[in-house]
């Protein structure tokens, strides 16, 4: 997953750490990582956005800490240490969200604690932060976090529009619209994800040809 950067210029390399998460290595559409929250919490645009931001925050903080401690943690216990670090920041996020708004905490509910087992975060810690400088890890986390949030939002928006006839809770169709309940259910998550993957792959295949 981590590509050895053969870029000659330092600057291009650092921007690339950020950009790659958005498109070329997008965690959802290309790496297909962290599917549990992607399918479960993307049924409304608002939930998707909140979940994406919470995950991005945990990803950023754990990447920073893993990168700082990368010479201190022996290889043999690295996974245990990373999980501990990730779990810590998830708990912190849980408390902070509760302190920000009871409503938001209610709507995200159990999925906050499930960020712990989001393999996107562990994979970034293992594949990137444990081998790179703090600055690069921050860029990587930001790129991946934004890419994840964006992807989640793409799914959430489509599912809310079709499944509920609204976006961010605002109705956009007239009374007669029959909502597709299946889009809100987990099955709808798979359909939407498949459709997005189809589009993204088609675009990338076309790009590769030219």
């Amino acid at each position: 997953m981590s590509k050895d950067n053969s870029q000659s210029t330092q600057k291009a390399a650092t921007t690339d750490e950020f950009i790659k998460g958005l498109w070329r290595d997008n965690p959802v559409f290309v790496q297909v990582l962290g599917m549990c929250p992607v399918l479960a919490v993307s049924n409304t645009a608002e939930n998707a956005l909140a979940m994406g931001l919470a995950t991005a925050f945990v990803l950023l903080m754990s990447n920073i800490l893993v990168s700082i401690l990368r010479n201190f943690i022996p290889k043999q216990v690295r996974i245990a240490s990373y999980i501990l670090i990730i779990a810590t920041f998830v708990t912190v996020t849980d408390y902070v969200i509760q302190a920000i708004s009871v409503e938001l905490h209610k709507s995200l509910g159990a999925f906050i604690s499930l960020i712990v087992v989001n393999c996107l975060i562990l994979s970034r810690a293992e594949a990137f932060a444990s081998k790179n400088t703090v600055w690069k890890s921050i860029l990587d986390a930001l790129g991946m976090g934004v890419g994840f949030t964006l992807a989640l939002f793409c799914l959430g928006a489509v599912r809310e529009v079709l499944g509920n006839g609204s976006i961010f809770g605002l109705p956009i169709f007239s009374e007669g619209f029959q909502s597709w309940i299946v889009m809100i259910l987990p099955a709808g998550g798979f359909f939407t994800l498949a459709a997005w993957l189809l589009i993204i792959n088609a675009v990338q295949a076309k790009k590769a040809k030219t």
Binding site: T44, P74, K75, S81, L84, Y95, A99, A110
Partner: protein, 239 residues
């Protein structure tokens, strides 16, 4: 990259080194969590108390003052001391003229995903439920959580019949029916797409009202002449 060499070099990595790393990370994690917990706790508690208070005001329209009670083993209402937040409490709401608006009752039961906690308002004068709100639920977003948002469902609880027979039992048990099949005043019109959740609400209210409503009704009868509820003012709410 010299990663392979790194691993080789660390192979004999003594256990002290591993122990040091794990303990170090552990201590740091513990400190971080405790710190955030302590920092956010006052605000979380305040928000939760505010949410409960808001819920009480919304299920008992017109309330300006709240008093907390609980039911003891003998089926009597006991006033709660300040700060005693044990168990599910019952809140009496009074309006501007110090007249009882009704009781807000906390109840909980199994929903589709997890325990649902609700609050409903009971008016002993009319013998009906006058308000309802979900305090906490983990129902499926977009489906089960319609029990919190759908106005048509919430309208069920503007005048839900929980009348008593002469011997102090509920005349009709509250029950949730399919959407559009409500015929009687004690039935809850369910939600298509949230069938299990709306039925769970029906069950929670049925269980709770069977137990609590007779007690509240008779407590209200007794207090009609003595009015002990007005002896002491515990909480003032300015609106």
């Amino acid at each position: 990259m010299s990663r392979v060499a790194d691993i080789e070099a660390q192979k004999p990595a003594n256990s002290t080194k591993m122990l040091r790393a794990m303990v170090g990370v552990g201590i740091m994690s513990a400190l971080l969590i405790v710190l955030t917990f302590e920092l956010t706790l006052p605000r979380v508690q305040r928000l939760k108390a505010e949410a409960l208070e808001k819920a009480i005001f919304s299920v008992l329209p017109g309330t300006v003052r709240i008093e907390a009670f609980r039911i003891n083993g003998n089926g009597q209402l006991i006033e709660l001391e300040n700060g005693d937040a044990s168990g599910s409490a019952i809140y009496a709401g009074y309006d501007e003229n110090k007249k009882l608006v009704g009781y807000a009752v906390e109840a909980a039961g199994q929903g589709y995903a997890d325990i649902i906690r609700i609050l409903y308002g009971y008016d002993p004068e009319e013998q009906i439920l006058i308000g309802f709100q979900v305090l906490e639920s983990k129902e499926t977003p977009g489906l089960g959580d319609k029990i919190e948002k759908e106005q048509r469902f919430l309208d069920n609880f503007k005048a839900l019949d929980v009348g008593l027979t002469d011997d102090g039992q509920l005349r009709n048990k509250v029950v949730a029916v399919k959407q559009g099949e409500k015929e009687n005043a004690w039935e809850i019109d369910g939600i298509t797409g949230a069938t299990i959740s709306s039925r769970a609400i029906g069950d929670i209210i049925a269980t709770s009202t069977t137990e609590v409503v007779p007690v509240l009704f008779h407590a209200n009868r007794k207090t009609d002449d003595t009015k002990p509820g007005q002896k002491q003012m515990k909480r003032h709410e300015q609106r």
